[in-house]
Symmetry: C2
């Protein structure tokens, strides 16, 4: 057996060091496993750290833990202490709702990934582990036994700086084997995200595969562009190569993305079998992507029949201290005109703990004052993927039917 | 500024804990940066670990370091010690050849990613940081200022276990805007890898974009299937969801992949604009993928005109202790027949330190005894991506012309 494992390691072509070979290459063969998920919504985590003095678990999962821990300053900061049993550290988080969670360990002040968990997620510059607590509310984050759509990463030519920009495109199952034309959803990420965010954190492809397979959503093309015009692509894929991207971004909510947006629509309509008409076009986005969706749909009233604002930023002044670009001016006038030209769905959702809640309340008051009809969903929790995945699943069935 | 950063963090929709917000969310804004690459092939690494007693750097980069360190047992194990300056740990690795390297820190026995480097790589179950030392030999690992191909992840139906299996497909720049038909390279990963390996570790899309743009390789479609029949997809993407995949794999070199391979060719030829003929079809693979390439081309002599074996496994007995499946029998007879039917290129490459070197020597002797013509390249180093990226770049210009 040992020889077979060694051969396996060698044939895998990795073995960066003998340490790796012993530590993490074959997680399934260790005596401990981590994480261990139970049906009852508990997750147990283990870490072998014999020299550590203090180990915590952190990540969004600790906030949702309802387990029986003493309140402490650490927990208030999202740090839940782990118990030390002879160098093996352990913690169980309890009563977790079905969801996709992120976590990491903090070992004597240093953040450490779980060496026994091969599922990792990059979000902006942070890398975390993922764990899924299964159940009704998270069942669509995994696609099993349903036809699978394909995901393309392509490049379109942008007039801004005359560069190629990367985008992700979901094509529904059956696209390649039919001549059918499809409606299109433009799905936009938050500030700091990129063209991979809705696929990785958002599990958008799996959610779409499941909803479409059950007949709950129309088969559609979903386009996920990069909404930060200062970067051409997600880290590592663009002309920057492996230089560190500058996440302090000058071109996110300054009107540039919206100004150049029609070139994305042109690229998509000329490359894929789309129905190139307002009736068959939707836009939605989270946070900054909600902001983009708001202003794109208001400034191009002929483009979208469906608009989804998920925990949207709504205040354009903050990133435009020296005056608003034209695209952010006269919002009320533009939205009124947008609705005169016809909007089938204007969907707004936010969590009760969201730091943008008050801004959104004002925005809704503005819509109400102008008698703009919209659907409003208020959820628990704050500005986070737990909400955005659910908003997406709630929004998709309302499109194109 | 502080407020802007906070807003940026919040709008990014991440903030799993206040710790994250302080630690790693804005790497570009810290006083220290890591890694810092110099033109002369030195890379400096920094880690803030005030409570640590001993910090090493590890990864394939330490093996290539020619810097002035004392030899020690740790270094022999691929661990290079870092210097402690008041809790800030530092090391400079010198005289590194231009290449893509992996690394991690080891803090008091625990492996830790560089919190200041957003470039991470999963290889089997291991996650490492990446750093690129620029120069002539690594220039094609970044695509800048050249037309970009697109990458598709699609699913084909397999008769094995009647499941959908994921594959990656590179389509060259211009595919979408032309009616042209293209030759196809099937590019296979090593044991433990998956359909993402050649794209992530191998930088295959960037290498192809660059070679095609310079006219050094023909525009071609490149198909990267998952060669482990026990798994449907790379971790996190298949019906397993976020359960831990079992990397101890029962279906890798037991004839199953080769038996079902024609269904991949059928899927590709019926889905993309391929030239569906032997003259326009190549296969190549590393390690286990070289093994697959060897036996696929020998068992389907009408399929491939070009065969590339990169550090190939060549001994089928090891994984078939209870007797060889038919597909691995009579190799010499089959290869002779393969060449009678015509092979334009049989390309074999291996590193002088590769643990498969002796096996390959025997295989070459077998080919020589049978007067089989082939191109043989012997490089420095062992069983590793440093070689495989270079073999690919050497192999591609020989195809389809």
């Amino acid at each position: 057996m040992k020889k077979l494992i060694l051969n396996l390691c060698l044939l895998a072509g990795m073995l960066p060091s003998p340490l790796h070979a012993q530590e993490a290459i074959m997680p399934g063969m260790r005596d401990i496993k981590s994480p261990v998920v139970s049906e009852a919504g508990s997750v147990q985590f283990w870490l072998n750290a014999p020299y550590a003095k203090k180990v915590y678990i952190t990540g969004n999962i600790t906030r949702f833990n309802k387990g029986d821990f003493d309140p402490s300053e650490q927990q208030a900061k999202g740090l839940v202490p782990m118990k030390n049993d002879g160098g093996l550290w352990e913690v169980r988080l309890d009563s977790l709702a079905p969801d996709l969670y992120t976590y990491k360990f903090v070992v004597d002040g240093i953040e450490v990934l779980d060496p026994l968990n091969s599922h990792v997620l990059r979000d902006v510059a942070l890398v975390s582990n993922m764990v899924l607590v299964p159940g009704e509310e998270s069942k669509d984050f995994v696609a099993a036994g349903v036809p699978r759509g394909s995901v393309h990463t392509s490049w379109y030519r942008s007039g801004f700086r005359d560069t190629d920009r990367r985008l992700s495109i979901y094509l529904p199952a059956g696209y390649d084997s039919s001549d059918r034309y499809y409606p299109v959803l433009y799905l936009l990420h938050g500030m700091g995200g990129d063209e991979t965010a809705w696929l990785d954190q958002g599990r958008a492809a799996e959610i779409l595969d499941n909803l479409i397979a059950r007949g709950e959503a129309e088969p559609m093309i979903v386009v996920m562009p990069n909404g930060n015009m200062a970067l051409d692509a997600a880290p590592g894929h663009g002309p920057l190569g492996l230089d560190q991207p500058n996440f302090y971004l000058p071109h996110t909510m300054d009107g540039v993305f919206e100004t150049y947006f029609p070139e994305i629509v042109n690229y998509v309509d000329s490359t894929f079998r789309t129905i190139p008409a307002k009736e068959s076009r939707a836009v939605a986005g989270l946070s900054m992507g909600g902001f983009h969706s708001l202003y794109l749909s208001a400034n191009y009233p002929g483009l979208f029949n469906y608009v989804g604002l998920f925990s949207p930023a709504v205040d354009p002044t903050q990133f435009n201290k020296n005056g608003l670009p034209e695209i952010y001016r006269d919002r009320r006038v533009k939205i009124k005109d947008q609705f005169r030209q016809g909007v089938r769905l204007y969907y707004l959702a936010i969590g009760e703990d969201d730091f943008l809640y008050e801004d959104n309340k004002k925005f809704r008051a503005e819509l109400d004052a102008d008698s703009i009809p919209y659907i409003y969903k208020e959820s628990k929790f704050g500005h986070e993927w737990t909400n955005w995945r659910r908003y997406l699943a709630d929004y998709l069935p309302r499109l194109f039917r």
